[in-house]
């Protein structure tokens, strides 16, 4: 199922569009052109969904052109493709592209051209992250997203935008630069072990390299640190509320919808299969952080007066679930984590969109400035109620599917302490309902407290075009999650097999090692020469 260089086109079309936009004459033409480019990218990405070979979802598909990067003497290549983990995230990115343009339509009034150029560059970076199958290429795309985001927050953000933008960049940069050193170390180690001494960052070659246990621990820590900041996992989350609150609506949607997923995606894509033993031995620690994040994020959300900040902290809570699911090492929890990434992107994205629409009308984010606005904006309220229920995990809507799978999977995990952690995490579901419904009642229901809110206009056509597809997706994912879950199933199964196999090999070869949880009981594979799980490079 190869369609040439479709992925490369999808990744770079926005970048090309951003260059062409330099010649756009008026604000109006700039907006329409940005919409055209992002919508064309979305249409181009649809064949990925229809042409994707679900049975072989663990394999790399849509692999196109390849060439050397940096130097011929290093095995660093431009290598893009998608598998069951990345397909939905790529589609989410291209789907949110036009929506972000539309939500910025009237919000961005100054320096319009620069804004849309940055937005398009950002989309190239984000799409690239999910398609890169060379770690260094992944790193390049990963960092590329910081540059436009710095300006999106810093130029078009709120009052404390500069602090927020700088904090966002420096925080993320600290993590990712340490990861860079780890990538270099891993590249040389793998090169010496399996690639004739040639430095390699090719994902599939690295997968076949069993990193010695001692090395795994600190490489894992450096990788996980970078991704934990991005997710953000408690206690590395402090940049997130600042960035979210200060960013313009479009920036918040990108941040919540896609940028945060780069962290969780990185954990699934790199940390687990490359450092399986270290991942297993850190399960408890990361699980505790995740659960603290779930509960703490929920409690802090409840205490907010600023609606945007409330949603920002709810992201900390929701992504705690994703991380918990990833580190529970069961098929259900892993699939739940994957689908929860998509769900969170849609429902939290929609929450930010609706709050942005309110902000455009009243220029305030404080919940006290609203109250009872269901009377003046009934259609908007309908979408808000739907989104809040989806976000809170009401069965029948998308949020439920992911959280349920994660909790079920994590509870059945044999990792130490995971059951206790799951029980505590479950309270997060209840707390989510508390703070979200509380926000809903304070802002939308009850008596209309402010006279200014009486004359507020309801959704216009543009806003309906934004919210209807989001709402449809929430319902679709809630009622029929199977087609989406099927995509990630073979990839997740394969990942768990790889983890098990590699752990067995690495931990058997290290006699000093005190084996970690279930490997105490299980019989080990007979020899190192035993074939690894079949599915690697196509």
């Amino acid at each position: 199922m190869e369609i040439g260089n479709l992925l490369t086109v999808i990744i770079f079309l926005p970048l090309v569009g951003s260059l062409l936009m330099l010649f756009a004459p008026s604000d109006r033409s700039i907006r329409w052109f940005a919409l055209l480019v992002t919508f064309a990218t979305f249409l181009l990405s649809l064949p990925l969904w229809f042409g994707f070979d679900v049975v072989n979802a663990a394999e790399l598909q849509f692999r196109g052109v390849e060439f050397s990067l940096i130097s011929e003497s290093l095995d660093v290549r431009y290598l893009v493709g998608i598998d069951g983990f990345s397909l939905l995230l790529v589609l989410l990115t291209t789907f949110l592209g036009p929506i972000i343009v539309l939500c910025s339509w009237n919000y961005i009034t100054e320096n319009t051209k620069a804004y849309y150029i940055l937005l398009l560059i950002l989309q190239t970076g984000m799409t690239g992250v999910f398609c890169a199958f060379d770690i260094l290429l992944f790193y390049i795309f990963f960092e590329l997203t910081l540059i436009p985001m710095y300006f999106l927050i810093g130029i078009w953000g709120g009052e404390r935008r500069i602090y927020a933008a700088l904090k966002f960049v420096i925080y993320t940069m600290a993590g990712s630069l340490l990861m860079l050193v780890a990538i270099l170390y891993l590249g040389y180690a793998a090169g010496n072990a399996i690639n004739d001494g040639v430095f390699t960052t090719n994902y599939f070659k690295l997968l076949t390299f069993n990193v010695p246990f001692g090395m795994q621990s600190w490489l894992f820590v450096l990788f996980a640190f970078a991704f934990a900041i991005k997710v953000p996992l408690f206690p590395f989350h402090t940049w997130l509320p600042d960035a979210h609150v200060q960013a313009p609506t479009g920036g918040s949607v990108v941040l919540a919808g896609i940028l945060l997923k780069m962290g969780t995606y990185g954990l699934v894509r790199f940390c687990l299969p490359l450092f399986p033993s270290a991942s297993a031995s850190h399960t408890l620690l990361i699980g505790i952080f995740a659960v603290i994040g779930i509960v703490y994020g929920a409690l802090v959300s409840r205490a907010q007066t600023d609606a945007k900040k409330l949603v920002a902290y709810s992201s900390v809570s929701h992504l705690g679930f994703v991380v918990l699911g990833i580190f529970a090492f069961t098929l259900e929890s892993l699939q739940g984590a994957m689908i929860q990434m998509i769900n969170h992107g849609i429902s939290t994205g929609a929450l930010f969109l609706i709050l942005g629409m309110l902000y455009e009308r009243r220029h305030t984010r404080m919940m006290d400035d609203y109250g009872g606005i269901a009377r003046s904006v009934p259609v908007l309220t309908f979408f808000m109620v739907l989104t809040v229920l989806a976000s809170a995990g009401l069965p029948g809507l998308n949020g439920f599917v992911g959280e349920f799978l994660i909790l079920v999977g994590a509870f059945s995990s044999d990792a130490p302490g995971m059951q206790t952690l799951t029980v505590i995490a479950t309270t997060g579901v209840i707390l989510a309902a508390v703070y979200l419904l509380w926000m809903l009642s304070r802002m939308f229901f009850g008596p209309l407290t402010h006279e200014a809110n009486r004359s507020m206009s309801d959704l216009n056509m543009r806003e309906l075009v934004i919210l209807v597809p989001m709402a449809l997706l929430m319902i679709l994912l809630g009622l029929m999650p199977q087609p989406f879950l099927k995509v990630s199933e073979p990839a997740a199964e394969n990942l768990l097999q790889i983890i098990e196999h590699k752990r067995a090999v690495v931990e058997r070869d290290d006699p000093s090692l005190e084996r970690i949880f279930e490997f105490n009981q299980r019989p080990l594979p007979s020899s190192t020469s035993e074939a690894p799980p079949a599915i690697l490079e196509p």
């Binding site: 130097s71 540059i147 810093g154 935008r161 420096i170 630069l177 050193v181 270099l184």
Partner: protein, 499 residues
């Protein structure tokens, strides 16, 4: 060596030293021309044309294998030409930027161009030297011209102070350097650093040799502005006319580092060490340099001074590669010098354009430039590229440069050094992005009224320098050939031909 055949050898080898001779010749012509037709407006363009010719010549020579000329006193082709290209590129950019800059501050000095040409020929001599005496001659030719250039705007007291400071400290460092050479010669009996190994193995004065190396390194660390010999850098960089600051920060640093790399690669690196660990010494210098450079840059409010401290930090990144001391690391260091030159020519060039007026622009405090990005999009946008590249963000050149110096360090077992390096560059993110914040995110109403009302023109020549530097930084990651060329320089054996 037969003295009777010496003259023939010199004639044959003229091609090897062609750029040095050519630039000196044009320099002398320009100097004489300036006497008779004071500050003729065509002087800069003639000088620039001369540099372009040398640049073309050296670009072709890059592909030739490394060799030596003039009784092995200098190296030709290969890495020598590559470094010459870096030096000539930055000279060319500086000359192009200098002409409108001087016009802007209502000064005109024809001799600047002669001095720049002399300095450049000294730098090339230094960077291509294959003998300690050649290094010294090159170093002094370069330095003396630079001392004068620093103080060339005679009416500016700050510049004069800088020049005197530079001269006194520079002369001091030269003393160390000479003592170092003398001791190394005393211990090994040779001035050719590729013969050190032979002299050293038969020498019973090994301690003396290492004392010599230490003194020699002190001299060099001064020239490249490494901590703790960096004190002169901020004052001199701030005091000198901005395009010349860019010239000093890039070309002279590249030349000094190139000479150091060649001495380490052909000379000191080939010795049987025994207990001596020069690599650890370089690693410690690197740590001090990246940490102190970055931390001091954090607190600067003056952009030129900030760039000066940041250039200290960048010297530290190169030292990280030198501490690794492998072929791959030396290649990475050379590659880094190219990228470093592009970034800093661009950054200093952009700042020089903002000094359209002898008074207000000269202050160059960050806040006086509030909101300049939207007002001057060319400077603003290219500055985005330079600052993010200096911070080391992909996909810009600075990232690939850092990769080229950190990766060999990791490969050589100096992972801790790479970690110190990247953590220090997290600090650099703060001060580089602060420039962009002032340029793009601060409201223009906070700016100096003078900045507000000004409508200074940007000459096409200066604009093209900025655009070319920015374009190269954007594209260089996609051109693996550049990195591969640097790797070939150090791929074959280290010993060159000897007389």
């Amino acid at each position: 060596m037969e003295l009777s055949s010496a003259f023939d050898t010199i004639l044959v080898d003229l091609a090897g030293g062609a750029s040095i001779l050519w630039l000196s010749l044009i320099g002398i012509i320009v100097l004489v021309w300036d006497i008779f037709d004071n500050d003729a407006p065509s002087i800069p363009w003639v000088s620039a044309a001369a540099v372009v010719i040398a640049l073309g010549y050296e670009s072709f020579a890059v592909m030739e294998p490394s060799s030596t000329a003039f009784f092995s006193l200098i190296q030709t082709g290969g890495v020598a030409s590559f470094i010459s290209v870096i030096i000539l590129l930055s000279t060319l950019a500086s000359i192009v930027l200098c002409a409108p800059y001087l016009k802007g501050i209502r000064r005109s000095y024809g001799e600047i161009y002669a001095l720049m040409l002399f300095a450049t020929s000294g730098m090339i001599l230094l960077a291509t030297a294959n003998n300690m005496v050649t290094i010294f001659v090159g170093l002094e030719t370069m330095s003396i011209a630079l001392y004068i250039l620093t103080g060339v705007v005679r009416s500016d007291e700050g510049a004069l102070e800088s020049a005197l400071k530079y001269f006194l400290l520079g002369a001091f460092a030269t003393g160390f350097f000479l003592y170092g050479i003398a001791l190394m010669y005393g211990a090994t009996g040779t001035m050719y650093f590729s013969e050190f190994a032979i002299g050293y193995s038969g020498s019973d004065l090994r301690t003396l040799f290492w004392v010599g190396v230490a003194l020699f390194l002190v001299g060099f660390m001064f020239k490249v502005g490494a901590v703790p010999f960096h004190m002169w850098t901020p004052d001199v960089y701030q005091g000198a006319p901005t395009p010349l600051t860019g010239f000093m920060a890039t070309a002279s640093k590249a030349a000094a580092f190139a000479a150091l790399i060649l001495v380490l690669y052909h000379g000191i690196g080939t010795l049987e060490l025994g207990g001596a660990n020069w690599q650890l010494a370089l690693a410690l210098l690197a740590v001090a340099t990246v940490v102190v450079g970055n931390i001091l840059a954090l607190t600067q409010d003056n952009v030129k001074r900030m760039l000066a401290y940041s250039s200290i930090a960048h010297a530290g990144y190169v030292l990280i590669a030198l501490a690794a001391g492998t072929s791959e690391a030396y290649a990475g260091a050379v590659y880094y010098l190219l990228i470093y030159a592009l970034m800093n020519i661009g950054a200093f060039g952009a700042m020089s354009l903002l000094e359209w007026d002898g008074k207000e622009g000269r202050l160059q405090t960050l806040n006086s430039l509030s909101g300049i990005g939207f007002k001057r999009p060319l400077i603003g946008v290219t500055m985005i590229i330079f600052m993010f590249s200096l911070t080391g963000f992909p996909p810009l050149g600075g990232f690939f440069g850092k990769l080229a110096v950190f990766a060999p360090a990791v490969n050589a077992g100096l992972t801790w050094l790479a970690i110190v390096g990247v953590l220090a560059s997290v600090f650099s993110g703060y001060y580089y992005l602060r420039v962009l914040y002032v340029f793009w995110m601060k409201s223009p109403s906070d700016a100096d009224p003078a900045v507000q009302s000004s409508t200074f023109p940007i000459p096409i020549s200066s604009a093209s320098v900025l655009v070319v530097c920015a374009g190269l930084l954007l594209a260089i990651g996609l051109i693996p050939e550049v990195r591969d060329i640097t790797l070939t320089f150090f791929a074959q054996g280290s010993l060159l031909g000897l007389p």
